[in-house]
């Protein structure tokens, strides 16, 4: 059962920001994640500030330069079914289509998806863990099968739960934030915060700040993007391992591009190792094998998530092989 909270549905972004800047206020977009956090009383929420009275934050449109502007309140299903997104930003459409379940995609928004709270089961249940202001991470020597292999930094071992975030990072998207001190643009790649920087925050959002829209630059011709997600069951599940790719090809040769992992680290994790191996090369069997091996270099598995090494390697091999076949 939800605890009680003050509630407001402001009519302007400015008013929303003002309300969010005070007390323990939380923004409510689709609410699919927030409601669960409230139910489990993970953090105190004095006030819920609904963004649903701000239609200007909704919708997908093409920008003059051929890029994309996506309002933060755009539902994930609207995104995954949008013809332009499907055609030109396929990896994002796929990622949005892999979130949760149909109902969650109908209700959940893109802004909420990248701002959602982690799914670590210690964090989500009645354990007072580091991220909740407690003194210890329960996962480090506990049930850590779903935890990270990169970026834990010896503190907190969550994986970032979002499916769309890696796709957005791969597509070099930027988030436009609006806050008490005006608005700013933050590349998605710089939007997420590692536990070693701040164990109680997942994003760079300052108090009172919200994401108003996401902008994706126009894809350079020859770019192909994709998102692949492996999970313990086929619906309604976060990634055990996922990979978003946006690779630019010149015929069969990869010119450059990004490879971003989900289910790997507390933030969407760019695999610069894989990017470097494929850059400038044709995706031959040998290149693919080298890339697959490289994806886990530097990984630090915990006691129960060692399988992720084999899984990421296998997934990269499969995905690059598919990319090569369609090149």
């Amino acid at each position: 059962m939800l605890p009680s909270f003050d509630y407001i549905r402001p009519k302007s972004v400015q008013a929303a920001i003002t309300h969010l800047a005070t007390g323990s206020a939380q923004a409510h977009a689709g609410g699919t994640d927030l409601m669960g956090c409230l139910r489990e009383r993970i953090f105190p929420v004095g006030k819920v500030v609904s963004l649903s009275g701000l239609p200007e934050l909704r919708g997908v449109s093409e920008t003059a330069d051929g890029g994309l502007r996506i309002g933060a309140l755009t539902a994930l299903s609207a995104l995954s079914e949008h013809p332009i997104v499907i055609k030109r930003f396929g990896g994002l459409a796929q990622a949005a289509g892999e979130v949760g379940s149909p109902q969650l995609r109908n209700q959940g928004t893109l802004g909420g998806n990248i701002c959602q709270k982690p799914r670590c089961w210690y964090y989500r249940t009645d354990f007072t863990c580091l991220r909740k202001g407690g003194g210890t991470c329960f996962a480090v020597d506990g049930e850590n099968q779903f935890h990270c292999i990169f970026g834990g930094g010896g503190t907190c071992f969550i994986v970032h739960p979002s499916d769309t975030a890696p796709a957005l990072v791969a597509l070099n998207a930027t988030a436009r934030l609006a806050g008490p001190r005006g608005s700013r643009d933050v590349p998605l790649e710089k939007f997420f915060v590692l536990p070693e920087v701040d164990v109680q925050r997942e994003t760079v959002l300052a108090r009172g700040e919200i994401v108003t829209e996401i902008r994706i630059p126009p894809p350079v011709s020859g770019t192909r993007s994709s998102y692949r997600k492996v999970r313990a069951r086929r619906s309604w599940d976060f990634a055990l391992a996922g990979v978003a790719m946006a690779l630019r090809f010149d015929r069969k040769r990869v010119i450059d591009g990004r490879v971003v992992l989900s289910g790997a680290a507390p933030i969407p994790w760019r695999s610069k190792e894989v990017e470097q191996i494929v850059r400038g090369k044709e995706l031959t069997v040998d290149v693919i094998a080298a890339a697959a091996k490289a994806v886990t270099s530097g990984a630090e598995p915990l006691e129960k998530n060692g399988y992720k090494l084999a899984l990421f390697q296998g997934m990269i091999e499969e995905e690059l092989t598919l990319m090569a076949a369609s090149a």
Binding site: P3, T125, A232
Partner: protein, 775 residues
């Protein structure tokens, strides 16, 4: 509007079973007119329109809402409870705990000692500590969260594999062994000596949670001294007796109603502490109380399928003759005595002909929620071990797995005293017809042939099983009332869990009385108004209730014949009941319509009482099954996809082909959960708490995890001995072989023997990575 009152009888001239002479049991049916057809449910309308009132839908005037505060530790002593802040919150009307004198009650007698309603020592996470009733469920939860409890946290053991090690904390003063069972026949050493091949392997199944869609709970209301409870339950009489016992009330003052319920799978065979708590809070507050558990609570305290750790050692001759089976199992019923290893060894004892068998079962205590019967207790676990071993043996001697099984089919129950024969067994036909319909040999060959090239590999596997019970048994009493227009009412205590019980019973009455099933109104699952029945479950409901219903309908016919005999002034034995009318066999001009029977009009109704007769002596009744499946494994990611299933089931007579098929696909879905997705995860190292107490972290199969292609193949032996309907149970056998069949198919695809459930990508990708590289 159509005149439905004219539409009671089914087709004119359809043969109606002979009416036996008074006092005689009806002989088994031969051909049937209604029974066996694929008919929609008699309560389908209610279930799809939203008009069916499930217990959680019951809303009484002036009703309060309850919430329970549960112990957050697997083992803790309660030092002090302070509810003073909670009591001051808005809407709070009642708080009870171990401090409340009226709540000082014995909840259950356990071999380790009496369990109190509020135990001063909580031995599992989720035992009750206090409860609140308030004006809204929100307020009740606010208050439950505001109760402060001082716990002395005690050391715990949360892994049954550690429970017997020296120095491990004890759950109860007498130690962590709950029970040890042994079984032996023949000479196991000689059996192994006689074998050409002896293999040994260990297996494990993880703990599963029932998680029916409707949470556990009830609404309790007192009218003065009488208590009425609407409970989401598999057996209203079981709830009644426990509530009466705990609250020290006469049975007659406890009425339990459970017209509909949203799934149980064994976890609702008994009431919970919540039932008593709701009744108490209703009593003390003088208002009705609704108390349903949250989903998270249902993970902790309303039962589970215990984890099992099994070892099978088996000896076989080159010709496929089994010579010896040795089976051991370590399991746990949790913190109290709850059958942690029950029946896990039954298949090893009884499924295949084997002269030399030894089994040892060790049930231990751990600090975790007590187990409850879960669809075919012990069997899917036992099948996971035994049926994988059969596969391994077959390969070792170079025999087809189906052939190895066919070689060892018993006609008697070897594990029972006196080796009673089965009233029927079509296990052989299940294997043969199932393999043929599935295209077993072809599919096995094709899967192999396409194997080498791709990273997606196919495999084909199968497994068999039988269910320990499933023949039904007394007692059951039912009443059939016939109205003067020919329509009827059935009064039966049993619950319809969604298995289609009501529909089958309506069809039995329809068969005997020649009326349409929809002309039968059913009153069920209410201790105040219906007859006694044991809880629905264990695949015994149809074979228990259907014969009683049939007997009741037959008695109605006997009484009608007597009325007609009087009216026509002939001997009743000369008359035949034809549905709409009753006529003389000798002289067809002597006939009278049922609705014209003066005696019936005078009386208003004819009542037939039916009892479940005894089972045959020196025989035993069991359903059997063989299931076949085809899977695909992604060798790079460890993803498993189940492509198709075929289930050949011997459950005796098919009572309703539509609901029969439904039961089987449901059993397969559940077996897929055991095989591939479900697993309770306790934080065994540090806190002992359950970390995946919700449907996201505890994963049930979804619509995308089951194959679209499932074939249900009923194999119907004529069983004239089991009972007067020839039906054997279906719910449990449908889920027994499923997981093992999948494991065998995965082996066929990958060459990897996965001995621990679940076969999820986490496990499979690791095993694939660990295997020596193929040359």
């Amino acid at each position: 509007m159509a005149d439905e009152s004219k539409d009671i009888y089914y087709v004119e001239g359809t043969p109606i079973p002979e009416t036996p002479l008074p006092g005689k049991e009806p002989p088994p049916w031969r051909e049937t007119s209604v029974v066996g057809k694929a008919l929609p449910r008699v309560d389908a309308y209610e279930r799809v329109s939203g008009s069916a009132a499930y217990p959680s839908d019951v809303h009484l005037p002036n009703m309060l809402h309850g919430a329970i505060l549960r112990c957050p530790h697997p083992h803790a002593r309660i030092r002090r409870i302070d509810a003073s802040a909670a009591a001051k919150l808005p809407g709070v009307r009642m708080i009870i705990s171990g401090n409340t004198p009226e709540a000082d009650l014995i909840w259950k007698k356990d071999p380790v000692g009496d369990m109190r309603l509020f135990e001063p020592i909580c031995r599992f996470e989720g035992d009750v500590v206090a409860a609140v009733a308030a004006e809204t469920p929100y307020q009740a939860w606010d208050a439950a969260h505001a109760i402060s409890v001082d716990y002395e946290v005690l050391p715990f053991v949360a892994d049954e594999r550690q429970a017997l090690k020296p120095g491990v904390p004890v759950v109860h003063p007498k130690g962590n062994v709950s029970k040890t069972d042994r079984y032996e026949r023949g000479d196991i050493a000689q059996g192994f000596a006689a074998a050409d091949v002896v293999l040994e392997e260990s297996y494990r199944t993880e703990c599963e949670l029932h998680t029916p869609l409707e949470p556990h709970g009830c609404v309790a209301n007192w009218d003065g001294r009488s208590l009425t409870i609407w409970e989401s339950s598999q057996g209203v009489y079981a709830v009644q007796s426990r509530v009466a016992e705990v609250l020290k009330l006469p049975l007659a003052r406890v009425r339990v109603i459970g017209h509909y319920m949203g799934g149980g799978f064994g976890s609702k065979l008994e009431p919970g502490k919540y039932t008593i708590i709701a009744a108490l809070m209703a009593k003390l507050s003088g208002r009705p109380v609704r108390l349903f558990l949250t989903r998270e609570e249902t993970y902790l305290c309303v039962g589970n399928r215990p984890p099992t750790n099994m070892t099978v050692k088996a000896g076989v001759k080159r010709d496929g003759t089994l010579t010896a089976l040795e089976f051991s199992v370590l399991g746990t019923g949790g913190a109290y005595t709850a059958g942690g290893t029950s029946l896990a060894d039954w298949l090893a004892r009884d499924l295949y002909t084997c002269p030399n068998v030894r089994t040892i079962s060790t049930d231990v205590f751990i600090n975790a929620g007590p187990a409850r019967a879960f669809r075919a207790p012990g069997h899917p676990q036992g099948a996971w071990a035994l049926e994988q071993m059969m596969d391994t043996l077959a390969e070792a001697i170079g025999m087809d797995p189906v052939q190895l099984r066919l070689k060892n089919i018993p006609s008697v129950s070897q594990a029972r005293e006196g080796n009673p024969p089965y009233t029927s067994t079509a296990f052989k036909e299940c294997l043969e017809l199932g393999a043929a319909a599935f295209g077993w040999e072809k599919a096995r060959g094709e899967a192999r042939a396409q194997r080498a090239s791709r990273h997606i590999r196919r495999g084909v596997g199968m497994a068999g099983g039988l269910w320990f019970a499933g023949g039904g048994r007394p007692p059951s009493t039912v009443v059939v009332k016939l109205f003067p227009d020919g329509s009827a009412n059935l009064n039966m205590g049993a619950s319809d869990l969604g298995t289609g019980t009501k529909t089958v019973m309506a069809m039995v009455i329809a068969e005997e009385l020649g009326i349409k099933p929809e002309a039968v109104q059913i009153e069920c699952a209410d201790t105040g108004t219906t007859q006694y029945a044991t809880p629905s479950g264990g695949s015994k409901t149809v074979p228990t209730e259907a014969p009683a219903v049939r007997n009741a309908a037959v008695q109605v016919k006997q009484k009608l014949l007597e009325m007609a005999a009087e009216a026509l002034k002939v001997d009743a034995a000369e008359l035949v009941y034809r549905g709409r009318d009753i006529a003389s066999r000798q002289d067809s001009s002597k006939r009278i319509a049922v609705k014209d029977l003066e005696a019936l009009k005078r009386q208003g109704i004819v009542v037939g009482i039916g009892y479940r007769g005894p089972n045959p002596k020196n025989m035993t009744t069991h359903p059997f099954a063989a299931q076949f499946c085809e899977v695909e494994v992604n060798m790079l990611t460890g993803e498993l996809k189940i492509l198709r299933f075929l289930a050949a089931q011997d459950s005796g007579r098919v009572m309703n082909r539509l609901t029969y098929g439904n039961q089987v696909i449901g059993g397969i879905t559940m077996g897929i959960g055991l095989a591939a997705t479900e697993q309770r995860i306790l934080d065994t190292g540090r806190t002992g708490k359950m970390v995946n107490r919700n449907w996201h972290d505890y994963k049930l199969p979804t619509a995308l995890d089951v194959p679209v292609d499932v074939t249900v193949l009923p194999v119907e032996p004529v069983d004239t001995a089991a009972n007067n309907t020839g039906a054997k149970g279906l719910g449990e056998p449908a889920t027994i072989p499923t997981a093992a069949a999948i494991a065998n198919a995965v082996y066929h695809a990958t060459g990897l023997r996965i001995t621990c459930t679940p076969i999820h990508p986490q496990q499979l990708v690791q095993r694939l990575a660990d295997r020596p590289k193929e040359g």
